[in-house]
Symmetry: C2
Subunit: 410 residues, 2 copies
C-alpha cells in the first residue's frame, strides 16, 4: 500500500469553523489499524434533522441497512464511524454488531437507538470486534469538542492519502449559516477498503424532508458523477445533518427560493468533496473531467460520460499521456446510448480533434499532447443527436492502482 | 508493447487440414507493420454460404457496415482482412476505402461486390491506405493455397502474442465435415488495436439462414461470454463460411436433429477460440472462469457473471493471487440484478468460502490460496434467488496491461 500523498492533493486541509450543535471526537480502538485513530464519534444537539443517500448495492453492509431504517424518523443525535472493518457480508453477526454499537451510544448519551447513525469502512467479510467500539465510547465522549474536524476526517481514512474537508457559508432568509463536510474514499469505491463515506453538517434549521431533497439532488451531480474504477461499494454513505442552531426561519418547501443560496453552496461543497475523492483515487496521477453534450437525454449524457470515464483503455491512455481519442470514440460506441457516429466531435484540452465523425483536417497533435502532460485533463464529446449534457470526473489508471489492489490483504 | 508470448498460450498452433473450397494467402503490404504479413486473402468456391455476428458498437467501423449489408444476399467468394489500421471513425473516406477494396477483389476474382467480405483491425481514426491492399491483390491471389491456416491466423494479429486456431470434425446425416477457425484479439476488445476478429470455415452444405442461427447461438456462450477489459471494439466480427463441398444432404431447419453433432462441434470450436483470445488478453497471467448459479434468469446470471469478471478489483486481486472474495460479493451487489445477500454463497477453486451471506465457520484459506497461485482460477457464486446459471471467462489485470495500453501509440 502506497504511503505517499496523492500528487493531486490540495495544499492543506481547510480550516472548518465550529458549528453550533456539533461536537466531535476521535479515538484509537485498534480495530485493525495500529498507531492511529480508527473511531469517529459525533454528538449532535437534540432537534438535529438528518438526510442520507446510500449505496444501491444489493450486497450492502449491515450499518447501511441500519441507517436507512433509522433515518425514517428524521432526527439524529449520534454518529459513530469506524475504519479498518466494513462490517459487510457478516450476516446475522454483523447486524448484532450494529445493534450493540447503537445500544452503547444509547447508554452513553441517553438518546433513542434510532437517533444513532453508524458506518463501518474497511475489509469485507470479517466480524467487527464491536466491543472495542462500545468499550471506547465513554472515553471518546469525554473528548468531544467542536473543533476536531480535521481529526474527524483523518479517523475515517482507509487507503486515503489525505483527509478531505470543505466548508461554505450561505444565507437563508437573511441569516448566515455554515456548512462543514468531510469525506473518505480512495475510489468511488474500493469495496475491500471499502467505500466512500461523507458527512456534512450545517447549523441551518431545515426539516428532514427538505434536507433529503437537497441532498439527493446535490448528490447526482457530485458523488454520483465520479468514478475511480466503476466498482460500487457495499457501504457508500452520504449524510447531511442540520442542527437548527443558526436560527433561520423554518422553510418547508425544498423549492422555496429562500433556499437558493444554501442549495448552491451545499452543491458546491458536495462537488468539492467529490473531487477530492477522485483526486485521491487509488494510484491517481491525473484528474480527468469528461463532458458529454448533444445527447438525447440527461441520463443518456451521463451514461455516455461514465462509459468514457470507466473505460480502462481511456484511463490507461491518460496515464500514458497519450491523446488517444480513438478510445473515446470506442467508449461512446459501447455505451448503448444513442450517438451519431458521423456527427460525433471530440475535444481534448479544448482543442477540436475530431468532427463529423473523422479527424479534423490537418490535425496538429502538439497542443493536445501538451495538455495530456498536465494534471487536469479535459475530454469533451458531442454525440450529435440532442441537446442534453453531463459532466463526470475520474482519474487515470496507473501501475499504483494495481500495486494497491493486488496486494492489499497480503 | 510486450513481445513475450502469453504464459497462457497453448503449446503450438493446431494442425488445420485443407478444407475443400477454401484457399488462403497472406501478404506483407506495409500498411503499418514492417517485416511481417498484414493482409489475409481468402478465396471461396462459388456456392459458399455466409453468416456473421458483428459488434453492437454504435461507432462501428466502415468494414463492419459493409459486411452487414453484403451478408444479406447469403453468398461469399472473397474475404480480405488487413491488420495495422482499423478503418474506423474514418468517415466518408473510410467507406470509399472499403468500396475500392471490394472493387479490387471484383477485378481479381470476377465475383460480385456483395460476395466480398472485408475487415480491418488496428489503429482507429487514421485513413486506410487501401491502395496498398488493392495493389497487392494480384500478387496475393497468385499465392492462394489450401494449407495456409497458421499463416492466415498470423497475418491478422495486432497485439496478439500467439496465433489462434482450432479444428473439429462433425457428422451430418452420415457425412463427415470439417470445421476450421482462427481468431485474433488480445482483449475481447482493445479498441485501439482494435478488435476481436474470428473466421470459421466448413465444407458442410448449409444454407445461410441455418448458418446464421447456429452462429448467433454459438456466439452467446463463447465470444459473447468473454471479457478482457469490458471495452467493446468498433470492429468485432465473427463470420462462418460454408463451402458445401462435403456433399451432405441439405438441411434447412437449424433445429433439425441431424445438425446436433455439427452444432456441438461448432460450439466447441467457438469456445476454444474464445478461450484462446482471453488467454492472450493484454497482460494476462491467469485464465479466470466465473460461474454464477441461482440467478433469477439467464440474462441476470450472465450480467452478474460479467460484473464479477469486469471488476477491476476482482481482476487485480487475481493478479495478486489474493483470494479476496469480498470483492466478488461487492461485484455481485453492483450488477443491478436480483441477489439475496443473506443466501449468497461463494466458492473459489471449488472450496466453499462463504455461505448464507457470511464466511463459512472456521474458514481455512490455505487451499484457496494454493488455488490462486495456479493459472486457471475458478470463481463460483450462487446468488440464491432462482435456478439460472451462466459462465464467462476473463483474465487478470496486471501491470503489463497498463504498459501495453498506456504507451501503444507512442
Amino acid at each position: 500500500m502506497s504511503t505517499a500523498v496523492s500528487p493531486l492533493a490540495p495544499a492543506a486541509f481547510p480550516r472548518l469553523p465550529a458549528l453550533a450543535g456539533v461536537r466531535l471526537a476521535t479515538h484509537a480502538c485498534g480495530i485493525r489499524y495500529q498507531g492511529r485513530t480508527d473511531l469517529l464519534l459525533v454528538e449532535m444537539d437534540a432537534g438535529t434533522t438528518v438526510a442520507g443517500v446510500y449505496t444501491r448495492s444489493l450486497t450492502r453492509s449491515a450499518p447501511v441497512d441500519w441507517c436507512r431504517a433509522a433515518q425514517k424518523q428524521g432526527g439524529a443525535r449520534v454518529l459513530i464511524v469506524n475504519s479498518g472493518n466494513a462490517n459487510a457480508f457478516t450476516g446475522a453477526a454483523g447486524i448484532a454488531s450494529v445493534e450493540r454499537t447503537a445500544a452503547g451510544a444509547v447508554r452513553t448519551f441517553g438518546c433513542r437507538p434510532d437517533e444513532v447513525f453508524i458506518a463501518s469502512t474497511g475489509t469485507i467479510g470479517i466480524a467487527l470486534p464491536d466491543d472495542r467500539i462500545t468499550d471506547a465510547l465513554p472515553a471518546a465522549a469525554a473528548k468531544l469538542s467542536p473543533d476536531l474536524w480535521a481529526e474527524a476526517a483523518r479517523a475515517i481514512m482507509t487507503t486515503d492519502t489525505f483527509p478531505k474537508g470543505a466548508t461554505r457559508t450561505a444565507r437563508i432568509d437573511g441569516v448566515t449559516v455554515t456548512i462543514n463536510g468531510f469525506a473518505k474514499g480512495a475510489g468511488m469505491i474500493a469495496p475491500d477498503m471499502a467505500t466512500m463515506l461523507s458527512y456534512v453538517f450545517t447549523d441551518a434549521a431545515l426539516p428532514a424532508p427538505v434536507l433529503q431533497s437537497l441532498l439527493s439532488k446535490g448528490c447526482e451531480r457530485s458523488f454520483n458523477a465520479i468514478t475511480v474504477d466503476s466498482d460500487t461499494s457495499t457501504s457508500d454513505t452520504l449524510m447531511l445533518f442540520a442542527t437548527g442552531k443558526a436560527g433561520n426561519a423554518p422553510v418547508t418547501d425544498p423549492a422555496d427560493r429562500r433556499l437558493a443560496d444554501f442549495r448552491a453552496k451545499l452543491n458546491d461543497l458536495l462537488l468539492d468533496l467529490a473531487h477530492q475523492v477522485v483526486k485521491d483515487g487509488e494510484g491517481a496521477t491525473k484528474f480527468v473531467e469528461v463532458t458529454v453534450t448533444g445527447a438525447a437525454g440527461a441520463r443518456a449524457a451521463k451514461r455516455i460520460a461514465l462509459a468514457i470515464a470507466n473505460s480502462p483503455l481511456v484511463k490507461t491512455a491518460v496515464a500514458g499521456e497519450d491523446a488517444n481519442w480513438g478510445r473515446v470514440v470506442a467508449a461512446i460506441g459501447k455505451s448503448g446510448e444513442k450517438a451519431d457516429r458521423d456527427r460525433l466531435s471530440i475535444r481534448i484540452g479544448g482543442v477540436m480533434v475530431a468532427r463529423d465523425g473523422e479527424v479534423v483536417p490537418g490535425y496538429d497533435e502538439t497542443p493536445v499532447t501538451a495538455h495530456m502532460k498536465g494534471s487536469h485533463i479535459v475530454i469533451e464529446a458531442d454525440v450529435g443527436v440532442g441537446r442534453n449534457r453531463a459532466t463526470v470526473w475520474t482519474c487515470d489508471l496507473t501501475h499504483a492502482y494495481i500495486d494497491i489492489n493486488g496486494s492489499y490483504r497480503t
